[in-house]
Each structure stands twice: as C-alpha cells, then as structure tokens.
C-alpha cells in the first residue's frame, strides 16, 4: 500500500461506525462471537467498522479475544 492510499484509508470514515462507547459496551459479546467463529461482523457491522478504525478499541478487542481464547483452554 503506497502513501496516498494509506492516507486515503485513514481519512475515510464509515457511516456505520458506532463509536467507542457502544463498541466498548458490547465488546465482550462481540469477542465471544468471534472466538466462536460466528458471523460477528455481519451481526454487528457498526462495531466491526469501529474496530477497524479505532486503534485503542481495536487493541482492546484483540486483547479480549486473546483472553477469551485463553480462558477457553
């Protein structure tokens, strides 16, 4: 990916993006769906859009997903 497309990707906003508050509220539900292999992104497109764009929430999601998988073992 070159610089122009990277800048374009960063500046693009997704109208479905639910924001941090709602994503954080539902993160445990979303992470468990993903861990279970369920279609989380289809069920919660607004959360998926947010996690793609928000670094801190995306980081929290990755951490929670790792925790869920760890807890399952």
């Amino acid at each position: 990916m070159n610089g122009r497309s990277e800048l374009d990707r960063f500046l693009r906003t997704d109208p479905r993006d639910v924001g941090c508050a709602q994503a954080m509220e539902m993160l445990h539900v979303y992470a468990e769906l993903v861990a279970a292999g369920a279609p989380a992104e289809q069920r919660y497109p607004g959360i998926a859009a947010h996690l793609r764009a928000c670094g801190p929430c995306g980081e929290d999601f990755e951490g929670l997903l790792a925790a869920v998988r760890d807890d399952a073992h």
Partner: protein
C-alpha cells in the same frame, strides 16, 4: 460454543430480519442505542456464569474463595495483555508487572461493584475480562501521560508524510497534497478538532493519553477525530487530491 454465543448475542432482541444489530452511529450525533446499558435482558445464563453470580452475591468464605479465583484469573489475563502489548511500549520488567497487578485489582473492584449490570449476553468470565483489558489500556494511557515522549502540542509537519509511508525520494509528487492537507487542517477544523488531530496524527500521542490530558472520554476524542477525518477528506477530494468516492463498506 458457537450456537450458545449466537443465542446470547441475540438476547437483546434488536436484530433485523437478516440478523443485523442496529446500534447508534457516529454520523449525525445519533444518540447511543437505548437498549445498550438498559434494563437486563432475559439472556439465558450458562451454569458456570450463574454459579459465579450466585457465589459472588453471597457473604462468607465461599464468596471470598470466588473473589480469590476471580482475582487470579484477572491477574493472569492482565499479565498476558501487558506481555502482548509490551513490545510496543516503553515499559518493561517489574513496572509492567506492577501495572498488570494494579489493573487486576482495579478491575476486581469494578466488577464486584457492577455485578447487577451483567446481563448474561456472554460468559461471566468474558464480561469480567473486559474490565481488566480496559484497565490495562487506561493504565498504559496514564503512564504515557506522566512520561510523554513528545509535547502534546508540538507541530512537526515534516514527519507527517513518513507516518503514511510516503517515499521522500518522490517528494515532488506529494508535496502539494500535504500542503493542501495542512491548509485544510487550518481552515476546515474547529480549534478542538485541530488540537486532537495534531496530537494524535502528527505527534502520535496515544488516544487514551489525550483523554487524560483533555479530561475527556475516549468516545468524545474519537468523535472529534472522526469528524476531522471526514472534513479533511472532503476538502482534499473537492480539490482533486483524492478521489471523491463514497466510503467503503468492507
């Protein structure tokens, strides 16, 4: 596990016929979905989660033992999380472990204070782990707030092309684009949006650190950056620097 997770996720009962959950969005300042954080849904508790709730809701030795088990789980998850994030942090060793232990202790307090808010949409331990992950994030943000690597309001615009991977050897091709971007930052953004853009994008200040610095919330800072991105892209597209296409939905 898959079917159980899907059934619990459906417990809110706010999905359309295609199973898509509709929550409030950032666009147009749509308020938060009233069903989020509202009254408890009638989700079916799995046996293990019900047992956690039962024991933690009682008094005496069984509760103390459950608290000890929960704390042990939270410490393990917190240590795993700081280890996962560690390579990207300027924290290591005992300081990082101390951060993990503090996060686990604070998460335990938060969880026991919010037991009544658990709606059974996931396993209890997943819900509980969310608190410790958030505590780790908040404590890392606080650490960078106390030990900033760059002043929050510094403005080194020459660093910006490198952040997006522009090759200095082809500066002639992107110099105008960044001049236009800087003009748009100065003319299109509100002072607060500009402040947030400069801190996060130019100075790479972690968003959670900026939350503390501005005494704000993650959602509010993200919303400001979201609006700034939308305005800047529109300005660049209007002047032919970027293609004016609808937002991607992938």
């Amino acid at each position: 596990m898959c079917n159980d997770a899907q059934a619990k996720a459906s417990a809110r009962g706010c999905a359309d016929s295609a199973g898509v959950e509709h929550l409030g969005t950032m666009v147009g300042m749509v308020p938060a979905d009233p069903r989020v954080g509202g009254t408890p849904a009638a989700a079916r508790l799995d046996h293990e989660s019900a047992e956690w709730l039962r024991v933690l809701g009682e008094a005496g030795p069984p509760r103390e033992a459950a608290l000890a088990r929960l704390h042990e789980l939270l410490v393990r998850i917190a240590r795993g999380e700081v280890a996962r994030r560690g390579p990207r942090l300027r924290i290591s060793g005992p300081e990082l472990d101390d951060l993990a232990c503090q996060a686990a202790a604070d998460a335990l307090l938060a969880i026991t204070g919010k037991l009544g808010q658990f709606r059974g949409e996931s396993r209890f331990t997943t819900w509980a782990c969310k608190f410790v992950i958030f505590e780790v994030s908040a404590k890392i943000g606080r650490h960078f707030w106390r030990h900033p690597s760059v002043p929050l309001d510094a403005e080194d615009w020459d660093r910006l092309p490198g952040h997006f991977g522009f090759d200095p050897a082809y500066q002639a091709e992107w110099r105008e684009l960044f001049a236009a971007l800087r003009r748009a930052v100065d003319t299109e953004l509100t002072p607060r949006q500009r402040e947030v853009f400069v801190a996060i994008v130019l100075n790479e200040v972690p968003l959670d650190t900026l939350v503390l610095s501005l005494a704000s919330s993650r959602n509010a800072i993200y919303k400001m950056l979201f609006d700034a991105r939308r305005k800047l892209r529109a300005a660049l597209a209007a002047n032919g620097y970027l293609h004016d296409e609808p937002s991607r939905r992938s």
